[in-house]
């Protein structure tokens, strides 16, 4: 049985190609959720030098985010902490790294009260005179993308501190990632999502593949004596080295 030319290369999709059938994501996401609190002053940086590894690990922990597609989850529903060395490697090999900062006082365990955001009044002075910067702010959001810098990119690990979710910060992060990529003429931007993430990415303007491709992930498990590596809670079979049978 001849195998066709295998995976669709997802080729070179110009914006011209795509304009034929975009789905329309809901534009007023926050209102649909019933939460109209605007975000606090946010500084968004795409400079990887602004990422403090320790703070980033803390953010992963507080967002309960795992880098494994199928993470091990304990009885309390928490994923295991991210491996620091691997996180460093992953971030340093991401083509786009976006970090979002806000002033520490805006990060409270309960949602901030609306009085913080009255436009005219005391607040505007602190916004103008002492704006939040990556240096004085606290890391409260993150996202990264891996790209071949030619055609394609995939977005990973988008997260926002739970105290500040639902206020459009995640969308800001994704928008910055996509803008960075499209400014380099990369329009084929993918994000692998579970059910919760799907809703979020839909609101960011993502949809199912117009070319109808099937997302597939390697899941073949190994049995006891076979070579394997663990990826979260899955034990993946390492294919043996072999020549052709013919």
């Amino acid at each position: 049985m001849a195998v066709a030319a295998a995976v669709h290369h997802r080729g070179y999709l110009t914006s011209k190609f795509r304009s034929s059938s975009p789905p329309s994501p809901p534009k007023i996401a926050a209102e649909i959720r019933g939460n109209t609190t605007p975000p606090p002053p946010i500084s968004i940086s795409t400079n990887p030098a602004h990422v403090n590894l320790r703070h980033l690990r803390e953010l992963y922990a507080i967002c309960n985010h795992s880098c494994h597609r199928f993470p091990t989850v304990d009885a309390a529903g928490r994923v295991e902490p991210v491996d620091p060395a691997k996180l460093h490697t992953a971030v340093s090999h991401s083509s786009v790294v976006v970090s979002a900062f806000t002033k520490p006082e805006f990060v409270t365990t309960q949602s901030s009260t609306p009085s913080n955001f009255i436009g005219v009044g005391g607040d505007w002075i602190s916004r103008v005179a002492a704006p939040v910067t990556p240096e004085n702010g606290r890391l409260i959001g993150f996202g990264r993308a891996v790209s071949d810098m030619g055609f394609t990119a995939s977005i990973h690990d988008v997260m926002v501190h739970p105290a500040l979710q639902g206020r459009g910060i995640g969308q800001m992060i994704v928008q910055r990632i996509t803008r960075m990529l499209t400014s380099r003429d990369i329009y084929d931007i993918a994000a692998l999502c579970n059910d919760d993430e799907r809703l979020f990415f839909r609101e960011c303007g993502f949809g199912y593949d117009v070319l109808g491709s099937t997302t597939m992930t390697y899941t073949r498990s190994a049995s006891k004596n076979e070579p394997m590596i663990s990826a979260g809670r899955r034990l993946l079979l390492v294919p043996p080295a072999r020549g052709l049978t013919k």
């Binding site: 049985m1 195998v3 030319a5 295998a6 995976v7 290369h9 914006s15 304009s19 789905p23 795409t46 400079n47 990887p48 030098a49 602004h50 403090n52 703070h55 880098c67 490697t89 992953a90 340093s92 090999h93 991401s94 891996v146 790209s147 071949d148 810098m149 030619g150 055609f151 394609t152 995939s154 990973h156 990529l181 499209t182 380099r184 084929d188 993918a190 692998l192 990415f201 993502f206 949809g207 199912y208 593949d209 491709s213 099937t214 997302t215 597939m216 992930t217 390697y218 073949r220 076979e226 394997m228 899955r234 993946l236 390492v238 294919p239 043996p240 080295a241 072999r242 052709l244 013919k246």
Partner: protein, 245 residues
């Protein structure tokens, strides 16, 4: 990396040095004195900074080890440190006319873009700009190729070398990898060559402890990948794509 070990791999091959403490908030992410940095010979500086805005370029100009220029991820030469390229003869056969054909597998990524373009034409893919093709190859974590080398019997010198298959994967080198652009010359299909390419990619990725391996398969080849251990939408995980407004 030996190409024929079939050992159990109970733990990841930890090839990274232990992380240096990065406690000081103002410290840049890639400290010069980190052994990690030195080992990579400056690669840490080369994370792409795409189209930095005006203020960002001013700010990053102040930070010593970072510039606002658009730079690319490491070239294949530097990649040798991390991912040793392999090359071996996959199969050797003698044709009826006496010529010997070898099919050579290589993960060194030495692909001529013109050869690749010709191969893409053969499988019927639309043309893509060569500069982008070159960039995509350069910035892929692994580029695996199959070449056919023919020589007349008795000749010592290598005969003509033809690209007959390729597969590539992008990765963050730690957790995630995506396989793109898998193709085999139609006249060489049906011999298990595509399977070899993919298995080799998976093997290399897993040996580097990169456990999230995904791809986006055309409906015609979903079964091909299922046979190789891929599952469509496992646990409901699907890919979504960006649509410009």
């Amino acid at each position: 990396m030996p190409s024929h070990d079939v050992l159990a791999l109970p733990t990841a091959l930890k090839l990274y040095p232990p992380i240096v403490s990065l406690d000081r908030r103002s410290q840049p992410f890639y400290p010069f004195n980190s052994p990690f940095h030195l080992r990579k010979g400056g690669r840490n500086q080369k994370v792409s900074i795409l189209k930095a805005g005006f203020w960002e370029s001013i700010r990053s100009g102040i930070l010593k080890n970072n510039t606002a220029q658009v730079v690319e991820p490491p070239s294949p030469v530097e990649e040798v440190e991390e991912l040793l390229p392999e090359e071996f003869v996959l199969v050797e056969r003698t044709r009826p006319d006496g010529t010997v054909e070898q099919i050579i597998f290589s993960s060194g990524g030495n692909v001529d873009v013109y050869d690749l373009e010709a191969l893409c034409d053969k499988v019927g893919w639309p043309r893509r700009p060569l500069s982008k093709l070159a960039a995509a190859l350069r910035n892929s974590y692994i580029v695996a190729t199959l070449h056919s080398v023919s020589k007349s019997s008795g000749e010592e010198v290598n005969g003509q070398k033809k690209l007959i298959g390729m597969a590539r994967a992008t990765s963050d080198h730690a957790f995630n990898a995506t396989i793109w652009d898998v193709l085999v010359d139609p006249s060489y299909q049906g011999q298990g060559l595509g399977k070899v390419l993919i298995e080799k990619l998976i093997r290399t990725l897993l040996q580097r402890d990169i456990g999230n391996i995904s791809l986006f398969a055309d409906s015609k080849v979903v079964e091909f990948y299922q046979n190789l251990g891929f599952e469509p939408d496992p646990e409901g995980i699907k890919g979504m794509f960006w649509y410009p407004k």
